[in-house]
Symmetry: C2
Subunit: 110 residues, 2 copies
């Protein structure tokens, strides 16, 4: 649910997206991409939320920009992005960012 | 829904949180914080999603790190964070990151 990231610096890919109503194949592709990404070198974790209106934010965390580029050019990921533009997404924004500071809060139950 | 951010570089605050079941005052506080932030110098936009399980990701975008620090130290925002730790959040992660690249896709309807 929360990514267990190391102390900064590391990199984040912020992917904000709005889905089309088309469900066909989407869940399988989404699960497959998370499983594939998790096996890529430099993958640190992922946090992902989508609401009932189809708006989603997925943030994946990576050790370096080179790791992000390698994942971007992974053949199956490239194909999935093409399918996403054809069928699954009304629109999206991808932002690549360098995480400089991080703070955690966790409730201490009595 | 999507933040209309300028060309990079700019900054992002990635706030991943898990809510408690307690609703009392939360929606008002959340709306008030977004309205306050939008009037802060350097505010560029915000994207926010929360699912039915209470997991949420909110990403706010800022022109500079100094703008983020000013917002962090805003008295009403500081009080809201304290209330959040007491009542509204099981846990959260806040990450401050410098956005270096951004890509947009928008469906062209026929």
């Amino acid at each position: 649910m929360f990514a267990k990231t190391p102390p900064p610096p590391y990199y984040a890919v912020i992917f904000t997206s709005l889905r089309t109503p088309l469900q066909d194949g989407y869940a399988d592709m989404s699960d497959r991409m998370v499983a594939l990404a998790a096996h890529q070198p430099g993958f640190l974790g992922v946090e992902s939320v989508r609401d009932a209106n189809g708006l989603g934010i997925t943030v994946s965390y990576w050790a370096s920009e080179a790791d992000i580029a390698d994942w971007k050019h992974h053949a199956e990921h490239t194909l999935a992005r093409e399918q996403g533009r054809v069928a699954w997404y009304e629109g999206y924004e991808t932002r690549v960012a360098k995480v400089e500071r991080a703070y955690t809060f966790k409730r201490q139950d009595p």
